[in-house]
């Protein structure tokens, strides 16, 4: 049973099994040059300022060294000359459902992925047709004056709003990969919520699924105007059919005074993917930004969602779950920059390392001296599933001045053999016992995810555990 599930996951994740002849109408080719940038800008028919923005970003990307002085040397294995930086929307090649390996189909079955989505995820369809589901939502949103479009449309149709905030929370030169994204981005969402509007249903990247949106270099910008509220969800628990090995997104959030933004991510990458993502929000007075994040799979994930608390009483929160299985490295954490009085931040991070899997927590909490009444709470817990698993914690909390309250707790625990024996004695298989333990470990965080995600998450953990037990 476990061997079978294991191979399902593995076959599913090896790109070799997914190879097919490629033909694209718009294809920037491999490698990254000035021409690549022009190509993208031309295809998108972009304004001059954005073309320049891209070119400047390319320079910054070239100048910036790999951050291997603090991050893993594995980054040096990314071959930027072999990457395809742009394939146009709807032009991804397809293959028939019959060609999709049975194991992949079974995984979809067990995760309960809806029929139409399966075809998209397996690379059978370039576009996930969700217009029917989306049109109702769209209508409701339009009535409220909410803008929810992809970034290309956002640039074209709302240039003033877009330009005002674009690249302001995460400047191009923030890091090498934010520079890369700034140079070649395509896809991603642009959302604007007008003052006082509370969007009742979560907005899902889902509704806008297409090849480009699920691309490697998506760029998302969400602006919640004064007193508004919005929740955004991206990703899905199904292992994604992956043709590219580098995913490098940039997500910027702006919460104006009294606004609330929740950004929920559940991602399950194939184990050949470098997932290097920059996510940051700016919270103005009394605004709240919450990142709720679950990372499973990938060869290397580096992701430290952040909140800059710019206005008085602003609040920032990062809740994250990371699962590193054999051969995977989850390097995740949070960045909390307190830049006003009485700002509050909360970080709760749980990581699970299975087999040779490796989890790293990196936190940065910055409270400068001149501020008053700031609070931070940081909890990071690691669970190790067997003796080979690795976990490291680098919590950097710089608090200056004595008018603040900070609290930091960290723990490393193991699923003990005796605990597994106890559960087996009650009739649970080793895999069932493992997933129950792991689910127990992340239980309080899983509750923070929307219902449909939490159910999928549980199933996903079951699958991951089945694959990991000999």
């Amino acid at each position: 049973m476990s061997a079978e599930a294991n191979s399902a996951l593995e076959i599913d994740r090896s790109v070799g099994d997914f190879s097919y002849p490629e033909k694209h109408t718009y294809d920037a080719g491999v490698g990254l040059t000035e021409d690549t940038i022009d190509y993208i800008s031309n295809v998108k028919d972009e304004a001059e300022w954005i073309r320049e923005f891209r070119h400047r970003a390319l320079k910054v990307f070239r100048e910036k060294p790999m951050p291997t002085h603090w991050a893993t040397k594995d980054l040096n294995n990314i071959d930027f000359d072999k990457i395809r930086y742009y394939l146009s929307q709807g032009q991804r090649p397809t293959r028939s459902w019959d060609e999709v390996p049975d194991e992949v189909k079974e995984t979809f079955e067990r995760l309960g992925i809806p029929e139409q989505e399966r075809k998209f995820l397996a690379g059978v369809e370039a576009q996930f047709d969700s217009e029917a589901a989306y049109s109702n939502v769209k209508e409701a949103l339009e009535k409220q004056g909410v803008i929810f479009v992809n970034s290309t449309e956002g640039l074209r149709e709302h240039p003033e709003l877009f330009r005002k905030w674009f690249g302001k929370v995460i400047p191009t030169g923030d890091n090498k990969f934010s520079a890369l994204n700034s140079a070649v981005f395509s896809g991603g969402s642009f959302i604007y919520v007008p003052p006082g509007v509370k969007v009742t249903h979560p907005l899902q990247a889902y509704f806008r699924i297409n090849a480009e949106n699920f691309g490697q270099f998506e760029r998302t910008l969400i602006i919640a105007d004064e007193g508004s509220e919005v929740m955004y969800m991206e990703g899905c628990t199904a292992p994604k059919f992956e043709t590219s090995t580098l995913h490098s997104a940039v997500v910027e959030l702006v919460a104006m005074p009294n606004a609330k933004i929740q950004y929920v991510t559940v991602q399950n990458w194939s184990s050949n993917v470098f997932n290097l993502v920059t996510k940051r929000g700016m919270a103005h007075e009394n605004a709240e930004i919450r990142w709720i994040d679950c990372n499973i799979g990938s060869r290397l994930t580096m992701k430290y969602p952040g909140v800059i608390m710019k206005g008085r009483k602003a609040r920032g929160e990062v809740i994250s779950i990371a699962l590193a299985n054999d051969g995977q490295h989850q390097d995740t954490g949070a960045k909390m920059i307190h830049a006003a009085d009485e700002t509050t931040s909360n970080i709760v991070s749980k990581s699970i390392s299975v087999g040779q899997g490796r989890s790293t927590y990196r936190g940065q909490v910055h409270i400068p001296k001149h501020l008053k009444g700031c609070k931070n709470n940081t909890e990071c817990d690691a669970l190790l599933i067997n003796a080979h698993s690795k976990t490291d914690t680098y919590p950097a909390i710089t608090v200056r001045g004595n008018q603040h309250a900070t609290q930091h707790e960290a723990s490393v625990s193991q699923v003990s053999e005796d605990q597994i024996f106890y559960m087996k004695q009650r009739g649970l298989s080793e895999a069932e016992a493992m997933s129950l333990s792991v689910n127990g470990f992340v239980n309080d965080l899983v509750r923070e995810f929307p219902m449909e995600y939490s159910v999928e998450l549980k199933r996903l953990i079951d699958l991951e555990m089945e694959g990991s037990v000999g």
Binding site: F421, Q425, R426, G427, E430, E432, A433, N439, G440, D444
Partner: protein, 277 residues
């Protein structure tokens, strides 16, 4: 977090499989746990040194014996703990070789161990744990009826005078010693095993709890079920009256008798017994 949907609504699965028909046509003499000349080592050190014991269905056997004589070791070997190495002998359950089965299979086949030191499972609620254990006993694709499950569990908790709040608490986490023991009996009552080994379930229980737990065990006594009760105290045996009492010392059963043996032990201790007996 578990979804409460049941694919076969109104199908009382729990009570269904609990009363599974027993294969009466089998030779009745094999309706027992049979331990023959069992030898067990841990880290190369022999702890059980040629032990013989037969526990037939319908009977209650008590095992008493000094600290470190190997009683819990026996219980864990029965349950299938992998740290212990069986170096000789055999164990069968209803005629089937128990030793070649994994711990979880033994459990699903009807063997239950109430642990001397029950483990904690952080983040997993009691209700979800017991549910998962019952679910594991169902054929693939069949789902436990959630309504029937809660009904049954509440009834059992009432009988054991356990507060309902224990359903939502993490398994054994932060439970008092006595609460843990009572929780073991709740699990036994829910899983309805054919053979139950109770390892010092009485230690840690206050006098009232002892009576309640004993009542719970007695309610489960039946011709279809065997109990192996490990204890240090005659008092428990006043409530759960055994059919046989065995004395274990240095890895062997050195004396067997009826319930009066326990009284004698209470009075005289273990020293008067010698290994030759």
């Amino acid at each position: 977090m578990q979804c409460l949907r049941s694919r076969k609504r109104g199908h009382p699965i729990i009570t269904d499989f609990l009363n599974q028909p027993t294969p009466d046509d089998l030779n009745p003499t094999t309706m027992s746990i049979d331990i023959r000349d069992l030898k067990v080592s841990i880290d190369g050190q022999e702890i059980i040194k040629g032990l013989n014991l037969t526990l037939p269905k319908g009977e209650v056997h008590a095992i008493m014996g000094p600290n470190g004589s190997g009683k819990s070791t026996l219980a864990k070997v029965l349950a299938g703990h992998e740290d212990y190495e069986v170096t000789g002998g055999s164990i069968t359950m209803d005629g089937e070789d128990l030793l070649e089965k994994e711990a979880d299979e033994r459990s699903r086949d009807g063997l239950f161990l109430a642990f001397q030191y029950p483990h904690e499972i952080p983040g997993v609620t009691n209700a979800n744990f017991i549910r998962a254990a019952l679910q594991a006993r169902l054929p693939k694709g069949e789902e436990l009826d959630a309504v029937a499950f809660y009904k049954e569990m509440y009834a059992q908790m009432d009988a054991l005078e356990m507060d309902r709040k224990f359903t939502g608490r993490s398994v054994n986490e932060g439970f008092s010693g006595g609460e843990k023991k009572r929780n073991e009996i709740l699990q036994m009552a829910m899983l309805k095993p054919t053979y139950a080994v109770l390892d010092e379930t009485d230690s840690g229980l206050d006098i009232d709890a002892l009576k309640i737990v004993s009542k719970g065990v007695n309610a489960m006594r039946s011709p279809e079920r065997g109990f192996l009760v490990i204890t240090h105290y005659q008092r428990l045996l006043d409530y759960i009256v055994p059919d046989h009492v065995h004395v274990m010392k240095d890895g062997k059963i050195i004396r067997s008798g009826d319930k009066t043996l326990a009284l004698e032990l209470e009075e005289r201790g273990y020293d008067w017994l010698n290994d030759a007996a």
